[in-house]
Amino acid sequence: MKGFSVILSREVFGLFISPATYVAAFYFLTLLGLGFRFFLESFARTDWLLPPLASLVVALIFGSPALIPFLTMRSLAEERRLGTLETLLVAPISVTAVVVGKWFASYIYFILVCVSALGFPCLAVWLFPEETMNLRLLEPAQLIGGGIYLLAAGSAFTAIGIFASSVTRNQMVAGMLSFTLLTLHLALMAYFHGEMPTDTMGLAAANVLRDSLGSLTTGLDRLEHFVVGIIDIATLLHYLVATCLFLGFAILATTRLND
């Protein structure tokens, strides 16, 4: 991928000097922090089955439609609107490098937000070590499991955002499209969570369809496994496939300009 590092450094620089990304991260982390604090309070009254870190991972996953469009909507749509994308494409840089570079920059930013969110449990443990001891907030297995799930889901979600940005020249439309696709993805995950498979068209056919949809049908069920420290390789592969698919679509949509 010729020019990947150039695109990546340019995009990362662009994201870090844009006030919009800081504003988005500020609001996102503020809401996340408030949610986390009130969720912790509920542990004093309710017996939660899953660890509190699970709530943080769920909040980051379900909050991502409010964050990812801000990170990705400008990337290709703005270039297209300004007419710089055509210029970029005639440079000795492959389309794949452009798309993957932009995706990777957004992904890095998403990871940084997730790492910042880890500050909440760390703060709770630092300020109240004895009171929060039974919450096991910094249990390595849960941290690694939850972190890996966020990395996997985040890569697919940012790829969806990049794809939304690649099909339009209006960044607002790209943002809305990205928000809609991510919300739809999460709604389907929530719908299929704990759903019992049907066997009307034959159990085998139902299972094939279910397996083919990958993380859409099993994502939220598997999240429960990751947050207690079980890494499910199939789920990671599903998210990898989703990432490649949407990046492939984005490359295809961007290549259209060259035709």
């Binding site: 912790l40 542990f43 909440f120 498979p197 049907t198 083919s212 079980i230 390789i233 259209r256």
Partner: protein
């Protein structure tokens, strides 16, 4: 060149690529779903099957299905939600484990008859809140019920004998009965909660029971013809249908034993149960039970009530006296009397038995002692161990009445006030349940299993109403069946500790935590302001 056609073919090509990419992704997802690889990062592999389980799974003789008809919902009692979560992780491990035959997990909604017709019809599923282990691909699959929770609104408010029980409490009872959890302790919310999960062992036992070839008889016969209680009778106060349901859930068949003294007890008999006879057994009938016990190493459970309307010349213990004597037991024609009203349930009037055998705990009552459970009964009679039991017989007294009680000898004629006859009465605690086992000791002191006899001094212990509402009685029945069928195949699978997440903070500390959550977004805001200032500076220069 026709540019219209060129544009059309370009579009067609693009959509073809989109379709191909989508198909490829679906196919890859399908392949990825077949990757049965989990990495357990937890300390000590909390969610990984033990080596012993893995070894046993390679010895399965048939494929098996595990069917769950419990619907996942936030409306389910908390203990059921915990069970579903723990089972989800465990069953996943069972499904992925390398076994000689596949184990498949099915989650079935019994109300969605149309959608899950095949499974519902195959396993004749009608009940929700059930966990079932069954053999796959057979016309009459072997089945064992792991867990059953009757979620019907149970309390009949017009019945003063029935105390109100919440859904949570009923669910806890059902979970306790299943044996899936162990070491219950009072939580900080003053309700009993489990501290250990024994799911791996319980599921493995059920899998072994249904999939491995049956090694012996598996029918429990209930005697008929002496006014006994019936296992098919659903009557609350006299029926034993709950007992039948329990036995069937253990993959045992239940049948009636015809009162024909000349016929042998069928070859498939694993256990013979005598439930509350009203008239004595004839000597020939007792003789065939004797043959069953001694020659075929059979098992017998007697549930004998103190009967008021019994003629003075009728043989003691309904004709079982000589047989019981041979087995080192004695069933007196007495009534256990307790003047202490605190030993009686305030609603039902049932008598609670909380005193268990001292010294070496018998495995039948060990869980009752460990969990401090009481066994409830109605009127009961003493069942004692003979002072000098015959050779090779090991008789044990299991459960006793309280110290304040005594066994009244001439109880039919005595009128209040109750006066103890120090000469004829038995001083409390009075044994009301005892069992006996014949252990053959040939050379080298190797114990060989003989017959087994258990005698309860009241049939009320296992009657529908009491069995349905008391965990202690159900535990006793479960352990007795284990003991009779010799299901103590040793599995050394350590239970998994349950992690409870809790926080102990006061209002002031929660407020401090709220303020502290502002640190993280504030750092981001400061960084943003710095970048904004830097950017303005750069642009200005």
């Amino acid at each position: 060149m026709d540019f219209c056609n060129a544009e059309r073919s370009r579009r067609l090509r693009r959509w073809t690529i989109v379709m191909l990419l989508t198909s490829l992704a679906l196919g890859l997802n399908q392949l990825a779903s077949r990757v049965d690889l989990n990495i357990d990062l937890t300390k000590g592999g909390r969610y990984t099957l033990s080596q012993e389980t893995l070894a046993w799974l390679t010895k399965l003789e048939k494929p098996a299905d595990i069917i769950i008809t419990i619907r996942e919902s936030n409306n389910q009692p908390k203990i059921i939600q915990r069970l579903l979560l723990d089972l989800d992780l465990l069953l996943d491990a069972f499904e992925r484990a390398p076994s000689s035959f596949p184990i498949r997990i099915h989650r079935v909604d019994v109300n969605a008859r149309k959608a899950q017709k095949t499974l519902i019809e195959k396993y004749n599923l009608a009940e929700p809140n059930l966990i079932l282990v069954a053999t796959q691909g057979e016309e009459n699959p072997e089945k064992a019920i792991l867990f059953r929770f009757d979620d019907q609104p149970a309390t009949d408010t017009s019945d003063p004998k029935e105390a109100f029980r919440s859904r949570e409490s009923k669910a806890r009872d059902a979970v306790f009965d299943s044996g899936l959890y162990d070491e219950w302790a009072e939580s900080n919310r003053n309700v009993p909660e489990p501290t250990k999960f024994r799911g791996e062992e319980v599921i493995l036992r059920s899998l072994m029971r249904v999939t491995r070839a049956r090694k012996g008889p598996n029918v429990v016969y209930f005697t008929r013809g002496h006014g006994e209680g019936s296992p098919s009778d659903a009557n609350r106060d006299h029926g034993f249908s709950e007992m039948q349901k329990f036995l069937e859930s253990r993959n045992l068949e239940v049948a009636a034993l015809a009162p024909d003294p000349n016929a042998r007890i069928p070859e498939d008999a694993a256990l013979v149960v005598v439930t509350s006879p009203q008239v004595p057994f004839r000597a020939q009938e007792v003789a065939r039970l004797r043959t069953f016990l001694s020659e075929r190493k059979g098992s017998l459970m007697l549930l004998i009530d103190p009967i008021v309307d019994q003629s003075i010349d009728s043989p003691p213990a309904f004709g079982f006296h000589p047989l019981l004597k041979e087995w080192g037991l004695r069933c007196h024609d007495m009534l256990v009397h307790d003047p202490d009203l605190s030993k009686f349930d305030i609603f039902s009037g049932d008598y609670s038995l909380r005193t268990y055998s001292q010294g070496e705990e018998h495995p039948v009552v060990e869980p009752l002692i460990r969990h401090g459970l009481a066994v409830y009964t109605g009127k009961c009679r003493p069942v004692e161990r003979e002072n000098a039991p015959p050779e090779q017989i090991e008789a044990t007294e299991l459960i006793y009445s309280s110290r304040t009680s005594w066994g009244r000898s001439d109880w039919r004629s005595q009128q209040p006030p109750d006066v103890r006859d120090d000469l004829l009465d038995i001083t409390g605690p009075v044994p009301v349940a005892s069992l006996s086992e014949k252990k053959l000791r040939p050379r080298h002191e190797v114990k060989i299993k003989g017959g087994k006899v258990a005698v309860m001094g009241s049939s009320q212990i296992f009657v529908n109403r009491i069995l349905r509402s008391n965990a202690g009685n159900r535990t006793l029945l479960r352990n007795l069946v284990h003991w009779f069928l010799d299901e103590s195949e040793m599995l050394d699978i350590p239970p998994k500790e349950i992690i409870n997440y809790s926080i102990k903070m006061n209002e002031q500390q929660f407020r401090e935590l709220l303020y502290s959550t502002a640190y993280v977004p504030s750092i981001v805001a400061l960084l943003g302001l710095f970048v904004y200032w830097l950017r303005k500076d750069i642009l200005a220069s």
